[in-house]
Every structure is written in C-alpha cells, then in structure tokens.
Symmetry: D2
Subunit: 125 residues, 4 copies
C-alpha cells in the first residue's frame, strides 16, 4: 500500500510526525478489509484491539514522499495475532513495528472469526 | 479556553496547520458541555452537526504558543444556532469564524433541547 | 483525487470528523504540485497561505468510504486565487468550499510565480 | 499533565484512536520544555528523535475523559535517554510505554546539552 505525505503529516521539525507511521500501518491493516468490501469487525461490539506495539524508527520521511507499507504475519493464536509492518521510502526501510492485536467481543478476548482471520493473514499489502 | 500548540499541531511550514484552528473551536464548544459533566447530545442518534463555516485566517501560531478561544452567540433559532468563535495569540486575534450548527435527531433537524441550549449559548468559554 | 476513509478520519459520532473534509481539500491542492514533482513554494519563506474558507457541509462520510475531491478555479488575481473544492461520495456532493489563497514571501503578499500559477489553476484534480 | 479527550481524539469505534496515546506522551515531553519557556532543541538542526517505542495498551479512554500523563527516567546515556511514560484514567493505568530518544545534530547522535538534559529528566510531569 502506497501513502503520500501531505502537510498534515509533517511537523515543525520538517519531517513526518513520529506517531503517523503507526497510523499508516493501521491504514494498511484496514485496507486489507476494505478492499474485500468488508470491515475488521464481526457485528456490534467486536473487533481487533491493539495490545502491544514495539516500533523502531529507522529513517525519516518528508513532504511529498510516497511511502510503501508492507504487512506480514509473525504469529497467529486463536484470539490474537502478531503482525510485522514495515514502511519503506525509496526502497529503504524507515520504520518497522511488531503489533499484537487481540480480537474482543463485549470487551473479552474471543476466537478470531474465520472469515476475518483469512483476511488479516496476508502475504503482502 | 486556553490551548497549547504542540508538534502535532504544526506542519513543515513551521506554523500551525490551517484546519487545526477549526478543531480548537470544536474543543471549545465541547468543553462547554464537558465542564458541566455532560455531552452535546440528547441520547442516541442526536447531536449538533456543522452546516456552514465561514473562517478568516488573520495571523499565525507557532510551536509552544498558548492560544485563547472565545465563543459568542450570533443567532439562535429553534433547530439551529450561529456562533462566532475567535482565537487569540498574545491578545492578538489570529482566527475568526462563524459556524452554523443544526441539531438533528435520526438525521432530521429537531428543536434544540432546552438543557443543551442553555449550555451552548455562553457568554464566553 | 480519491481518498479512502480510515479509522483516524472518523470520530465517536461514527462519521468523518468535520474538519477532515478541509484537510482532504488541502491534500488535493498539494497533489497538484506533487504529481508534477514539485511543491507549492518558490524557495524559502514563500508559499500559499489560506485567508478565507467558506464551507458547506452537505452530507456525511463513513469508515471505508472512498471520496472524490474536485478543484476548480473561481477567480485569479496577481497575488491571490479563489478555488472551489467539492467532495463527492458515491457521486453525491457532501462538501463544498470556496477558499481564498494568498501567495506570500517573507510574510508579504507577492505576485504568484508563473510556474506555480500554471499548476494551481487546474481543470480538475 | 492532564489531557481532555475531544471528538478529534476518538474514532468510529467510540474510543480514543490508539496512536493518540503516543501523541499525548509527546505533549507531556514537550510541555516539560514549554513550561520552562524553552523548546527541546539547541538551535538549528538539533533535537531529540524517537528511535524506539515499546507500548502496552491496557485500557480505553472515552469522549470527555480527563487523562493524566506521567513521565519517569529509566536510563540516561550521553547521547540518548529512555523514559517510561504512563497514562491514567480515573487513577487506573490505561497505557504505558518505554521510549528511547536520541539527541541528534545535523542527523548525527550528539551529547545531550546539559540545560536540556536538566529538563528532560523530570520526576513527574
């Protein structure tokens, strides 16, 4: 998935504001579902919640850059999943994070529905 | 209401990103309700929606600045309200907008509930 | 220009947060320059600043929607320009604004450089 | 440091969008400098950059909530620093992260200037 950097993404330091890389990863995860014409939920009061993020900031991005986000499966359990998401600028990796997502219903960890698991376990976005 | 400018508020131009002034005005409107321990709704599927904004950008704000937002009533009708919101930096006005808000329930304009009207018609925030 | 709506674009009301429509219009203006491999500046300390926005909010957008932004010239003067930008969801117009942009150098209104004027006066983005 | 949750902070899931907790921590770090009437830089082209964030999302926050952010020193080296930042809602911890910040000048790790080190090593924000 490609992401263009606009003014809103940058800060007074002249570079992309650090938390935005984590937002781009969320866009890439959601896009997996949107492009299948669905959403990452299973009806009301269910969905994936973020439990842990371990992120390395390896480089910088600037106004007008086009970034590429890739998503890979690290580990899948019945109620949770770990993904590795990387962001590249001009083929150079500038960001990488492992994210632990738990599927919850009414606030409680629940088995990930099969049709959603099939989508969130991608080869590449 | 005072608002501090953080990195997230600025862009690569070194100043506050223009739409953020409009966000600060929304904070000031919401704060009217929050400080009364309530929210700007009347139960499910009701609330104020923005219909028109006419905004003048008169100056600039920078990282670390503390801005002041003021809110005044321009006009009140049964289902809508017009407010004038101004933003000051060091006592100088840098932004001003008139905003038309309509109260809707199930998507339809509805009389503004009295207890909400009492709150949104402030002297000053 | 097409824009996908992600979680970050929505708020607790379940719809797109109102100021984001104005951000999408900024993306569309910037994209005019980025797609020509340039930026909307003429070196240091120059650029377009927003002076006035008059915006009508005509409809709503939701998570996963794909919006289309169009940009048209309303009026061009030597140091300023008025554009009309509209946002469509499923071919229905949900937002429209007139925006007055002034070109400034060192904080002062200046003649818009020809090569930038050629770009910001599009037929359609 | 206290932070009120506004509409802009929430998403269509009805809760605070996950990356915003990391933004609130940045606000708290910047506020350390702002309240001393300075900024976290040492002139041009220098400043703290984020190298790693390890974040645990322990609870949720909602529209109108007032959150409290605390910042503590974990480790200090000559060019870098590790802080633990926690966010509380009604005295309950809902977020915690360790963040590794490196001080850079012209893109290269540099000794943290003494007057900045004195500020970023707080007891509590």
């Amino acid at each position: 998935m490609n992401i263009r950097i606009y003014y809103e993404d940058t800060d007074a330091g002249g570079i992309v504001y650090h938390t935005n890389y984590i937002k781009y990863c969320e866009r890439a995860r959601s896009e997996l579902f949107f492009e299948k014409n669905t959403t990452p939920t299973d009806g009301k009061n269910s969905g994936f919640v973020v439990r842990n993020i371990n992120a390395n900031f390896l480089g910088m991005a600037y106004l007008g850059d086009i970034l590429e986000v890739s998503t890979q499966l690290v580990k899948k359990k019945s109620t949770s999943i770990i993904l590795k998401q990387s962001i590249f600028s001009k083929k150079k990796k500038i960001f990488e994070m492992d994210i632990l997502l738990v599927f919850v219903r009414e606030g409680k960890p629940t088995r990930i529905p099969l049709h959603l698991a099939d989508i969130i376990i991608p080869k590449k976005v």
